[in-house]
């Protein structure tokens, strides 16, 4: 499903070059649930952005479903994001002016297919169909994150990327979110990549990839 080969990423900070990723090679199989762990600054989020086609690597190759995508145009990358990838962010990133349902519908808007019914079905899957018309500000953090998962889920993507999905939540809501994600993985066979620094969350995944200073330092299978 995902194959990163010798990926490097260099950011320009003023005149200084900052090498965030230094030769990452990793494979993630279809249907796997993988955690990426590491201290802050280790490049976890950068990897997730590259995998999510939000960013392009400085060098190296990225094969997504056997297609080299690291040299595609920004428009083609947007198309891939729309069709294949669902994002779950630490800060939820819902649009505050829209209802929960409209936020989920927004996830369908750029992948061609859409509709209220699919959005409603996705909300139902995260157990929020009764709060469809509430705005994000009227929902708890855990509920907001569930809306965000529903948004990622609605278009039925093969890949969901979660960047510290529980980082802004209390432990109870966090567990709820993780259980939703694991059950999605178990029931629908969605490939799931979770960036986290919480060990108990990482251990609910099948495999943990440890990053440090932009390199893979260890992999463990749970």
């Amino acid at each position: 499903m995902i194959h990163l080969q010798d990926i490097t990423k260099v950011y320009l900070m003023g005149k200084r070059e900052l090498e965030v990723l230094r030769g990452i090679t990793l494979y993630i199989e279809k249907g796997e649930m993988v955690a990426i762990m590491g201290p802050s600054g280790s490049g976890k989020t950068t990897i997730l952005n590259l995998v999510g086609c939000l960013d392009k690597p400085t060098s190296g190759s990225y094969y997504l479903e056997d297609r080299e995508v690291s040299r595609l145009s920004s428009g083609e990358l947007a198309g891939i994001r729309g069709q294949k990838i669902g994002f779950v962010f630490q800060t939820f990133n819902l649009l505050p002016r829209l209802s929960a349902l409209a936020n989920v519908e927004l996830g369908l808007r750029y992948c061609g297919g859409g509709g209220r019914d699919r959005a409603m079905a996705a909300l139902d899957k995260v157990g929020l169909s009764d709060r469809a018309n509430h705005r994000p500000t009227e929902l708890s953090g855990g509920e907001q994150q569930r809306v965000a998962i529903a948004r990622a889920l609605a278009k039925n993507p093969p890949l969901i990327l979660a960047d510290e999905p529980t980082g802004n939540l209390d432990s109870h809501s966090g567990e709820e979110i993780i259980s939703i994600l694991t059950s999605l993985h178990a029931e629908q066979g969605i490939t799931l990549v979770v960036v986290t620094h919480e060990a108990n969350i990482a251990h609910q995944c099948q495999r943990i990839i440890h990053l440090k200073d932009g390199q893979v330092v260890a992999e463990e299978t749970v």
């Binding site: 999510g52 920004s74 994001r81 002016r97 808007r109």
Partner: protein, 411 residues
Amino acid sequence: MKKWFEPLSTAWVGVATHKLRSFLTILGIVIGVGAVISLMSIGKGASADILSRIEGMGSDLITISPGATGYGGVRSAAGSVRTLTQEDAIAINEQVAYINMVAPTYSTSLQLVVGGENMNSQVTGVPPEYQDIQNLEIAYGSFFSDFDYQRGAKVVVLGSEVKETLFGDNDPIGQQLRMGINIVRVIGVLESKADMMGSSLDNAILVPLTAMQQMVAQPRTSQGERIVSSIVLTVSDEEQTDYVVEEITSLLRDRHRLGPDVDDDFYIFSIQEIAEAVSAATGTMTLLLGAIAAISLLVGGIGVMNIMLVSVVERTREIGIRKALGARERDIWIQFLVEAAFLTFAGGIIGVAAGWVVSYLVSSTGLITTMVTADIVILAVSVSVSIGLIFGFYPAWHASRLNPIDALRAE
């Protein structure tokens, strides 16, 4: 249907979220469009007014006066030379096509005496066709008939002002007055009529040309032709005015034996030509008014751009989210462009209504007639939408080019 509806509903949400801001932005456009509509309607109304007044003088009317022949560098003033003759009028009537009626006139100054009143006035001898040619309306009595003309009856038709001076409020019909050494009888008074050419017919004293010829000695040219003061005529087809003017010019030059290097010894005015010149001038004035108003529309457009730029900065995170969800650059800039166009379209529609109201109020004062025409409305609305598209373009483009990662990180 979804495809075009979605950007519209997104735009609506964007506009509705910031009601005061959107209102102020729209207000800028409303003022601009309203100014264009009301000023241009005033311009158009005024020029239509002027034109109808000119046409009221008879758009089919052509006047020929003698004058302005340069002899050895000396140019005579119009009317001061005696070159136009009654025979010219007859020749024009017989030889030029598209002519309806021709009337030669002969004016001279005579002393009028009525009771104690005594004045020196310009008396004009005309044939009966003159009434139709000049569109003269009779207020009291009648104009002189063909029969009066043939027998040279000593009757007179007075302009409204002359009647006022000589008779005041008394009924002048049937009254006699002395004109030079002759006694003439008043048979009619003209309706008062505005005249733009300075020679108001309200001051006219009209007698049959035949009677005039009996009362005073009409001068003759060396060829023995009877000199007249002017020739007025109407064309049967206004479209042919230019042709008629040309034909008369060449006929008169021929008859007056003017060599190719000699200037015309007559002037030809056609109301048609004057109307065209005036209409060109008022059209320019209308455009000028529109251009001044368009400046305020431009300022409104800059306001739209300003707000859209603020809106893009404010919604950077939203743009990032949309991009993460798969929005392409095109989707983003269409979204912002539609929002800008939505603002200016709304402003355009409200501005048309406001301009309409203003021009209605202006015309209800009775000072100026205004005229809102479909072309102004269409122009103003399409210009305001174009302004939205033009001034919305840069903010929209800027939004679409945002890097999704940076945009997501924005506060």
